[in-house]
Amino acid sequence: MDVTADASRGLDLSRLVEFGKSVYSLVILLVLWEVVGQLGLIHYYFLPPLSDILIRFAELTLSGEMLFNAYLTLQRALIGLAIASVLGVIVGVLSARNDIVDWFFDPIIKIGYPVPIISLIPVFMLWFGIGDISKIIMVAVGTFWPVAVNARESTRQVETNLIWSAQMMGTSDRRLLWRVVMPAALPGILTGFQIAMPLSLIITFVFEMVAGGGGLGALEIQGVRSFESAQVYAAIIAIMLIGIGLDRILRFVRGRLLHWT
């Protein structure tokens, strides 16, 4: 009994060491950051010690301010992304399958995809104001392109033999889309979502910095304006955590949906 307990504890410890080894360069950097800050080698305004930032992060979290702003950012980013995902997949798949739809959308995609979408924020402020709706539309427009382009490419690349196989086994043209085209194109469609997700956070974050209205971007820029450097970095940590969290979720969903690849 004791032996097994020891063994499992030993295993945990070695795992911890393994984990430590895998991130040691990061740990060194963080320690260096703390030391540099504590010794005052870099002015507090530019880079407060890590511990101050973490304390500020905890304060903001406990007061609810951080969670509320994170909620605002996440809500804007995810609603916009959801709209773009639905429209992007519809447009992408249809233009890969239908010449007339492609004739209409191909030039639009060619022009729209490479536009640095952030540059349009002032235009969106003119048209839709600075509220939630304006931000959500901006995210939807910005993330539409990678979703649509990836959906179109992966649909185009569905092997003809798979479509022929389904047809010979009695699948009608109407059902072909659901039975074969969509499942075969799913890996590429999910890749589009994975590219669009961080983009949705970037767009929301920048829009919030420029136009305010709460959210992590607004929290960060507020910190700059009120000389609260620790708040600036705390907001950055929050958006990083959200980005990493969402990426993990998408990877998990991808693994589940594509266990056959």
Binding site: N161, W164, S165, Q167, M169, G170, A184, W260
Partner: protein
């Protein structure tokens, strides 16, 4: 017997203008119901095109293809294709690949299971029902390809170099398996290959095609005594004789290709 394929005045042209190429020209041929016919020809002679025209995947430029007297119009479940690259649905398990055609036909679940199991057993894939295609070897994938095509019970089997990507021993065992299945089920079989020995071993007749544009050069009747083992058959004088005939005829075509 059902499953007669009649090809008359068939012509297939790809592309337009300067890129216009004629793949098949004035082809007339008939495969009897229940017959096993192989098609050989130099590469680029349009033998795969012929198969896909019969399958209904491609439209003929001229001429008609009929099954039991009715001209075909697109793909249909009276014909089943076995592809060289298997073309299985990678997101479906072996079992789900085999039942696909039955699902499309609205066969109830219990019945689907019985039918699928019958054909999975027939191709010796018992125990692999829940595997995905990526987990299978090439030979196993092709057996799934055969089972899924047999499962929805087409009258005509169209096979496009189905064993072309497999090594020799595996190819031979699948050939024998295919012959057993064919004689059990009594289906019409049209088999594309570039392997003369394979064509002679499997078929009652071999259609030899000319090089580009492809059309019928000759038809060799393979009147072999197939009662013995594989070894007895392939080492017999008759087998050598038929193989030589087909080889010579095919060689004339490939020679032309080289001198050009």
């Amino acid at each position: 017997m059902d499953g007669r394929v009649t090809i008359s005045g068939l012509e297939k042209v790809y592309g337009q203008g300067a890129e216009r190429t004629k793949a098949i020209e004035d082809l007339n041929f008939e495969v009897d119901g229940g017959e096993f016919v192989s098609v050989v020809g130099p590469s680029g002679c349009g033998k795969s095109t012929l198969l896909y025209l019969i399958a209904g995947f491609l439209d003929a430029t001229e001429g008609t293809i009929s099954v039991d007297g009715d001209p075909i119009n697109g793909p249909g479940t009276d014909r089943g294709v076995v592809f060289q690259d298997y073309a299985l649905f990678p997101w479906r398990t072996v079992y789900e690949n085999v039942t696909y055609g039955l699902e499309e036909d609205g066969v109830p679940k219990d019945e689907r299971q019985n039918i699928a199991q019958k054909y999975i057993d027939m191709v010796d894939l018992d125990g692999f029902e829940d595997k995905y295609p990526k987990e299978l070897s090439g030979g196993m994938k092709q057996r799934v390809g055969i089972a899924r095509t047999l499962a929805y019970e087409p009258k005509i089997l169209l096979m496009d170099e189905p064993f072309g990507a497999l090594d020799q021993p595996l190819r031979e065992s699948l050939q024998d398996q295919l012959l057993d299945i064919w004689s059990d089920l009594g289906k019409t079989a049209l088999f594309i290959t570039h392997d003369v020995e394979e064509a002679v071993y499997l078929s009652e007749r071999v259609l030899i095609m000319t090089r580009h544009p492809g059309t019928k050069k000759t038809v060799a009747e393979i009147d072999l005594d197939r009662s013995g083992s594989r070894e007895e058959i392939v080492t017999s004088d008759d087998f050598a004789h038929f193989k030589n005939d087909v080889w010579k005829s095919l060689h004339e075509e490939t020679q032309t290709e080289v001198t050009l």
